[in-house]
């Protein structure tokens, strides 16, 4: 027999999941609102998507974000892959120390990491710009990329590479012909996840951006301080769509590895 409280909690859980979707659905619906103000429904229209495509400031910011995400995701995935291969050769103690360092940025509040980087850039009197932005985003994305690649690399059968070597491959050939193809999926997942993390980042960007390197979230944030417009909802809808595409690209299995793995250790 089912307890009434079971029924109550089941409905509460369904309610919570619905609660997660209501705001997102509202953004999508209101982005098609033919009105100057977000909350008054004035009929269906795609005019805000048109306005969005002509907003040069937002397009410039989009470009900065895309470039930054592209570079930092690539660097993070590469560093992650190399680190995974290197760590496999370490003894357990060295491994523990190294992975501790690698995952440190996951625990330290991002705002402190941002302040810290800014202090270093300040001390070196480096110009803030796309380069500093990329370095900041590398710090934020590296732990996630490493988490995925490390998990996938450790799950590989080491004897495969040995077999390739026995059959006359040198280390590079074994890596290129055996390891890399086997890791293609997780590497793509690591890259895509890093890309989204960088693309949506606002905390680190606040401290590491410079004149001319305003990212999309920073631009939207300053627009929002002046009030929400249907144009921003249109942008939000595109970003929601982008999220769905990334999730499809990464696949549920890789997502689970990242999101559920953290709870077990």
């Amino acid at each position: 027999m089912k307890h009434t409280l079971d029924t109550v909690t089941a409905w509460l859980a369904r309610g919570v999941i619905a609660f997660l979707y209501i705001p997102i659905v509202v953004v999508v619906v209101l982005s098609f609102n033919d009105s100057e103000v977000t909350y008054k429904w004035a009929g269906f229209s795609t005019r805000w998507y048109g306005e969005l495509s002509r907003n040069t400031e937002l397009l410039a910011a989009l470009r900065v974000s895309a470039e930054t995400a592209l570079i930092s995701a690539t660097l993070a995935t590469l560093c992650g892959l190399l680190a995974a291969m290197g760590m496999a050769r370490l003894r357990s103690r060295g491994k523990a120390v190294f992975s501790g360092g690698l995952f440190l940025p996951l625990i330290v509040p991002e705002i402190v990491l941002g302040v810290a980087l800014l202090s270093v850039f300040g001390a070196m009197s480096a110009d803030l710009g796309t380069q500093t932005l990329v370095l900041g985003h590398l710090v934020v994305t590296l732990p996630y990329a490493a988490l995925i690649v490390l998990g996938a690399y450790n799950a590989l059968d080491a004897s495969l590479e040995e077999a390739a070597t026995d059959l006359g491959c040198n280390a590079w050939q074994a890596f290129r012909r055996v390891t890399l193809p086997l890791l293609r999926q997780p590497l793509l997942a690591a890259w895509l996840l890093s890309f989204t993390i960088s693309f949506g980042n606002i905390v680190m960007s606040t401290f590491t951006n410079g004149v001319g390197s305003t990212t999309l979230p920073l631009r939207v944030y300053s627009m929002l301080k002046g009030g929400l417009t249907p144009e921003i909802n249109a942008l939000g809808t595109i970003l929601v769509l982008f999220t769905l595409l990334i999730i499809l690209g990464v696949g549920l299995r890789q997502m689970r590895r990242v999101l559920l793995g953290a709870g077990r250790s």
Partner: protein
């Protein structure tokens, strides 16, 4: 060879994380020049300045907000995780995907979504007008309540994943067995399932409590910037007041809070392990 492989990640962590963190600690003891830059020297003045009632209020408000947010996220996170883990495997996959989508949706989008919902004359306002709870255009934003809803909304998925991770491998016949042996609903949860979920709950608490303190976007957009969190304080000190040493001191306080809460959670986890051993 090994060194060469480890170098890129190692240099990144050392050069962009460890050294910078040490520099922040050092800067927090430096005095400021006329422009708020780092002048050098060693002083405790920055920390003394943070003892000002204005700033102490920010810290106590932040801790309260973070504690409340953590509590709400843990309760709702447990309810959702229990629901998830008691579904059939296919349903679990589908539901998990349903939670991943909002989790992965852009943070700013999720925040300004609430401006849509709560604006005067918006959906929530129309609803409360219809049931006669409010009359006319009500200001739901900016307010502390709106800020809090935004925080819960931002962190709830983060809290669900680790709790679900510790519950999903549970054999659900355990609960049934406990029920057969005469446990009521509450005892099935408090005696059997909650202890199993506890490592996940600890991880969820850690992933909610400290990051909440560092948030600065939500209190500005949904709270109107009046009631600040530590994150707002740090951003304000750096970007508006341009007082770098004091900003560094506030960052160190946040770091110390992180270390303290990790120690508390670590101790709790150790006691947990010893009990189950």
């Amino acid at each position: 060879m090994t060194t060469l492989l480890l170098a890129p990640a190692g240099i990144t962590v050392a050069g962009l994380v460890l050294v910078p963190l040490l520099l922040v600690v050092r800067n927090s003891f430096a005095s400021a020049d006329a422009y708020g830059g780092i002048q050098g020297g060693w002083t405790l003045a920055n920390y003394q300045d943070l003892m000002d009632p204005v700033y102490l209020k920010v810290f106590s408000y932040s801790l309260g907000m973070a504690a409340l947010n953590t509590a709400v996220c843990l309760v709702l996170g447990y309810v959702v995780s229990y629901y998830l883990s008691s579904r059939s495997p296919q349903r679990q996959m589908l539901l998990l995907l349903l939670i991943i989508v909002p989790f992965w949706t852009d943070f700013l989008v999720r925040t300004f979504a609430w401006i849509n919902l709560l604006s005067p004359g918006g959906p929530v306002n129309s609803l409360t007008d219809a049931i006669g709870f409010t009359d006319g255009a009500t200001q739901w934003i900016p307010s502390q309540g709106a800020s809090f809803v935004g925080l819960v909304y931002a962190f709830l998925p983060t809290a669900i994943f680790p709790i679900y991770a510790s519950l999903r491998s549970v054999d659900h016949s355990l609960g049934e067995a406990a029920r057969d042996l005469g446990c009521g609903w509450w005892r099935v949860h408090t005696r059997v399932l909650l202890p199993i979920a506890r490592p996940g709950m600890l991880a969820a608490a850690l992933l909610t409590f400290i990051p909440t303190l560092g948030v600065f976007v939500i209190p500005v957009l949904l709270g109107g910037g009046r009631d600040q969190l530590v994150g707002n304080l740090i951003v304000t000190l750096y970007t508006e007041f341009r007082n770098q040493p004091m900003g560094a001191a506030a960052s160190v306080v946040l770091l110390l809070l992180m270390v303290a809460s990790m120690a508390v959670f670590g101790l709790a986890a150790r006691r947990l392990r010893r009990k189950s051993a």
